[in-house]
């Protein structure tokens, strides 16, 4: 009887150890980090109306996602920040450069799991087409990320 008890207790311990190891592994498992083609994406408002440029760029670059108007309908959300600085008089006179300085950073997150699946930041010291250029850079790289999975 005592031998059986020992065997049972050892087996129970082994099961507990295996389960705890599996849970720990699951907790720190690498995320899937994939945006499927045709995923519904909501572009959250970004300061300076940058979300509008982003939506246009997504359409222009033919990014394989569907942009929706409501967050409730979406699987993924694009959030971010952008900053645009017009060329100052000094920049025009001293450097002979009329182009603006653009900076933007966007994040694509899965609404259900709350995980960030993709992020990108762009910096253009002399942007030929202002915010449009930086938005198109973001869209181009998003397209590459979706297609190269």
């Amino acid at each position: 009887m005592s031998f059986k008890r020992n065997v049972v207790s050892i087996l129970a311990l082994l099961v507990v150890a295996a389960v705890s190891t599996a849970l720990a592994t699951e907790k720190n498992a690498p995320p899937s980090q994939k945006i499927p083609k045709g995923a519904k994406v909501f572009v959250a408002p970004i300061e300076g109306g940058y979300d509008t440029y982003l939506k246009e760029a997504i359409a222009k670059k033919k990014v394989p996602v569907e942009v929706v108007a409501s967050r409730d309908q979406a699987d993924y959300e694009i959030t971010g920040t952008s900053e645009s600085q017009k060329a100052s008089t000094a920049k025009k006179v001293i450097l002979g450069n009329w182009h603006s300085r653009e900076e933007a950073s966007i994040t694509v997150s899965n609404i259900k799991s709350s995980e960030v699946v993709w992020a990108y930041s762009v910096h253009k010291e002399a942007s030929a087409h202002g915010q449009r250029s930086s938005a198109e850079a973001c869209a181009k790289h998003l397209k590459e990320a979706i297609e190269n999975q």
Binding site: N28, A29, P30, P31, E47, T79, G80, T81, S82, E83, Q85, S88, T89, A90, K91, I94, L95, N97, R101, E103, S105, I106, T107, S109, S113, S114, E115, V116, W118, A119, Y120, S121, V122, H123, E125
Partner: protein, 193 residues
């Protein structure tokens, strides 16, 4: 006459020697400061405190190490398990987005979440950006901005700050992006792979 003029030479020589030697104490004191800094850095690197700093080190567990463009501090050599869930809190100027993009760009094995309640760790901080003025454009011919940022990582369960890093970039080639990537690069150092 000749005997009266003789003492002038030693005086002149002494004067010249004084002038020549005068800057040396200043130099030597500077080098001592550098040496002391190096000693402190060595002490910080090896974990063995300098004799004079034993009391200070025993109070604080923060280990600092200078890097190429910033200052890094870890507490008790803390490490973050790979693919831990990290929440990046809002930072002025949207700098949190640049950190997230930097984490992805530098392939830091962490899972960034947008819900704080689902996270194990939190990244918070401050950032500041200074655009190039006309004087900088005129005299240096540079239109690049100066960037500085400081971040800390805290364990949300214990509330302890386990990591801190501050970066300062003069003439940042890619603006906030560079600062965000510098932060991410140094976060990677404390993530167990």
């Amino acid at each position: 006459m000749h005997s009266r003029e003789l003492p002038r030479f030693p005086v002149l020589i002494a004067l010249i020697l004084c002038l020549a030697i005068y800057p040396l104490p200043a130099r030597s004191s500077t080098s001592q400061e550098n040496n002391s800094n190096q000693d402190q850095n060595k002490a910080a690197d090896t974990g063995k405190p300098a004799p004079g700093d034993q009391a200070k080190v025993s109070v604080s567990n923060i280990k600092s190490a200078p890097t190429d463009e910033g200052q890094l501090a870890t507490v008790n050599n803390a490490k973050i398990p790979s693919y831990s869930k990290v929440y990046v809190g809002p930072i002025a100027g949207g700098f949190e987005n640049y950190i997230i993009a930097g984490l992805r760009n530098k392939k830091v094995p962490l899972t960034v979440v947008i819900d704080r309640s689902k996270a194990d760790y939190e990244i918070s901080g401050v950032s500041d950006s200074e655009k190039a003025g006309w004087a900088k454009m005129l005299f240096i011919g540079s239109q690049q901005s100066n960037e500085q940022a400081s971040i800390k990582i805290s364990d949300l369960k214990t509330g302890a700050v386990i990591f801190g890093y501050s970066v300062h970039k003069t003439n940042s080639v890619r603006g906030k992006q560079s600062a965000g990537e510098a932060c991410a690069k140094h976060i990677k150092q404390i993530v167990l792979e």
